[in-house]
């Protein structure tokens, strides 16, 4: 903690807390005036309903919101004596990535009060229920787990970045089948919080989109016990202008690839994967799935194939480029990007990121048309299939990532020599 004023605030908040605080629930926020009060109220209700015997602390850490978020939080103080407010002094503007700093402050406070569990919630969620607190905190308080990752009910084609890249990649790399690594909320045990702070996990530049994936990989590599909790659907309210697809991909994959670089020694030894324990019961999401235009996605892929060959040729081996060239000749009816080809493309981009073959922002954004090509194939194949089949298909893809892992290891170790 570099800001002495903030350190003082954390110490003050900690000293005002009960002597033995078992649970800290933290809500980092930045321009979430519409939702933050509801999230804090629901968290408070969850603590009161399920953990009334445990001493707890509700912490809001706002990052200089300019939309009245702070006023919303302060308005809750009279009805909620447990609420503590962290964050920089008033004034100034919010800057990108500040929520990561707020997250670190929450963890510092949890460490200061020696909390057994620290639950981090997402201030933009509009569908949270009090049960979430129980499902996420219970495995840490009553079971020997160090990290609980949520599994939200989703429409079958939603979460495509997670389904097509982050879940299969995390599973193949770290050997744990954590179904939704980008859950945006998570619970940590006291000893895991201590490790994160000791290793300065949040001191490096990390996209706010992938703090959860970063926490997960750190926990797995530290050999902490990880489990999953089924929650209901997660609806989010936007805060400010929404990011375009290539920015989302760049933000998420940049952090995931950074983690790969940090944990090479761990993941190169991992073979296969094992299931991770679940808590709660799966919930089916109501309503029809949102429409997905495979044709538009495929056309984006074909446009990329026509114009980005020069950029891709810096990252992808000739055999892959040739396969993509043939594939781009197909119309959307023939869209079928093979699983092994897709897995190798993701691995090649991870390697290109590591080797810094070009500006990393350009590299990650250049993956967007390829991702849309994969997504078009996936949507075309699964549009009429039931949810269970889609899940089976994602598991099949993940298995291919595992099968292709030796390719990644070979290229990672000998990038010049092994270039098919």
């Amino acid at each position: 903690m570099h800001d002495p004023d903030l350190t003082e605030r954390i110490v003050t908040a900690a000293s005002a807390a009960p002597a033995t605080t078992a649970i800290v629930v933290g809500v980092p926020s930045c321009n979430h005036a519409g939702t933050v009060a509801s999230v804090l109220r629901t968290a408070q209700a969850g603590l009161g309903e399920f953990f009334s015997e445990q001493s707890s602390l509700l912490v809001s850490a706002d990052a200089r919101s300019s939309d009245g978020t702070r006023e919303q939080i302060r308005g809750l103080r009279p009805e909620n004596p447990l609420l503590r407010e962290l964050g920089p002094a008033d004034g100034g503007a919010a800057s990108p990535g500040v929520e990561v700093r707020e997250l670190r402050m929450i963890l510092e406070l949890a460490h200061e009060v020696r909390a057994r569990a620290c639950l981090v919630l997402d201030a933009s969620v509009t569908s949270m229920s009090a049960d979430w607190v129980a499902h996420l905190v219970h495995p840490i308080i009553d079971e020997p787990f160090d990290m609980v990752v949520p599994c939200f009910a989703r429409h079958k084609l939603d979460g495509a970045i997670s389904n097509g890249i982050v879940y299969p990649l995390t599973r193949a790399l770290y050997g744990k089948r954590v179904r939704q690594p980008l859950g945006s909320v998570f619970a940590l045990s006291g000893r895991l919080v201590e490790r994160f702070l000791a290793r300065r996990v949040w001191d490096i530049d990390v996209s706010a989109l992938a703090t959860d994936a970063r926490a997960l990989s750190e926990a797995i590599c530290g050999e902490f016990a990880v489990c999953q909790a089924f929650l209901g659907p997660a609806e989010h309210a936007g805060s400010g202008p929404s990011l375009d697809l290539s920015s989302i991909l760049a933000g998420v994959l940049g952090s995931v690839f950074d983690e790969m670089n940090h944990n090479v020694a761990f993941w190169q030894k991992v073979r296969g994967s094992e299931p991770v324990r679940w808590f709660g019961t799966p919930v089916e999401i109501a309503g029809n799935p949102p429409p997905a235009d495979a044709h538009k996605m495929w056309e984006s892929f074909r446009l990329g194939c026509r114009t980005l060959q020069d950029v891709w040729s810096v990252v992808l081996p000739p055999a892959t480029l040739l396969a993509l060239k043939y594939l781009a000749q197909e119309e959307v009816a023939g869209a079928a990007l093979a699983d092994d080809l897709w897995a190798r493309i993701v691995y090649d981009f991870a390697l290109g990121y590591r080797l810094h073959v070009m500006n990393r922002g350009h590299l990650l954004r250049a993956l967007t048309p390829l991702y849309l090509g994969w997504l078009a194939s996936f949507v075309r194949e699964m549009a009429a299939a039931p949810s269970q089949d889609v899940e089976r298909r994602v598991q099949q893809l993940s298995m291919v990532y595992e099968v292709q892992k030796p390719y990644l290891i070979s290229r990672w170790r000998w990038p010049d020599r092994f270039n098919p």
Binding site: I248, V252, A292, L303, G304, T307, R365, A366, P369
Partner: protein
């Protein structure tokens, strides 16, 4: 009469021989200087190449984030670029020494002029190098962004940006070298103004329907649900 012819021939031969005698050492000195500088340049280049290869310079440079330099260098090797730069610098210096020795009376002026313009040439070279790197960076950034925005003429757009930056850089470098004087400045202003005017006319007149359709699409996409409402995260 014969004696006069003989004297004239003798004097002419003498003058030619004196001329050749005074010309030959300078020529030999030039040849020697060029040969020696080429040899020295080659040896120094080899030495620099060996040292840089020993240091794994190309990979280090990539690790330090100077990716664009590797792309710009011949055969993607900054080592080769530096090796050639050293070799050619020594060769050019050898030529200057040789030329000085060859025409001691005439060439010092040239040497002085060359030496005086060296700082300008150095600055212009730096401007050109940075401009080329910037042009490549922007070209790629525009290309990728345009493809991701599904603009069909993404390549054309990126090439336009690249050449705009290159033309701008070339004008700056020539202005710095004081080559062409006001013609370069005027030429650039006319070219740049022309491009902007052409674009404005194209959008204002030729493509007004496309632009209005595009605006309509944007307005509709803000108010109506998209036909592709997948959540990617």
């Amino acid at each position: 009469m014969w004696d006069q012819i003989k004297d004239a021939l003798y004097e002419a031969t003498h003058r030619v021989l004196v001329g050749v005698a005074s010309f030959l050492p300078g020529l030999l000195a030039l040849v020697l200087a060029v040969l020696l500088s080429s040899l020295l340049g080659w040896l120094l280049g080899m030495l620099v190449g060996l040292i840089l290869r020993g240091l794994d310079f190309d990979k280090r440079l990539q690790k330090w984030g100077f990716v664009a330099m590797a792309e710009w260098a011949p055969k993607n090797s900054p080592t080769l670029l530096l090796r050639k730069t050293v070799t050619w610098t020594v060769v050019v210096l050898g030529w200057l020494v040789g030329l000085t020795a060859f025409g001691a009376g005439v060439t010092p002026q040239l040497i002085v002029q060359v030496m005086e313009s060296l700082p300008h040439m150095g600055t212009a070279l730096v401007v050109v190098l940075l401009g080329v790197l910037l042009a490549r960076f922007l070209c790629r950034a525009v290309l990728i962004s345009a493809v991701n925005m599904q603009i069909q003429s993404a390549r054309l757009l990126s090439l336009a940006v690249k050449w705009l930056v290159l033309v701008f850089v070339a004008a700056m470098a020539l202005d710095h070298l004081r080559v062409g004087g006001d013609i370069v400045r005027l030429g650039f202003a006319i070219l740049f103004g022309g491009i902007v005017l052409a674009l404005a006319l194209a959008i204002g007149l030729g493509s007004k329907e496309i632009v209005s359709r595009s605006w309509e699409r944007q307005t509709h996409s803000k108010t109506e649900p998209s036909d592709d409402a997948l959540k990617h995260l």
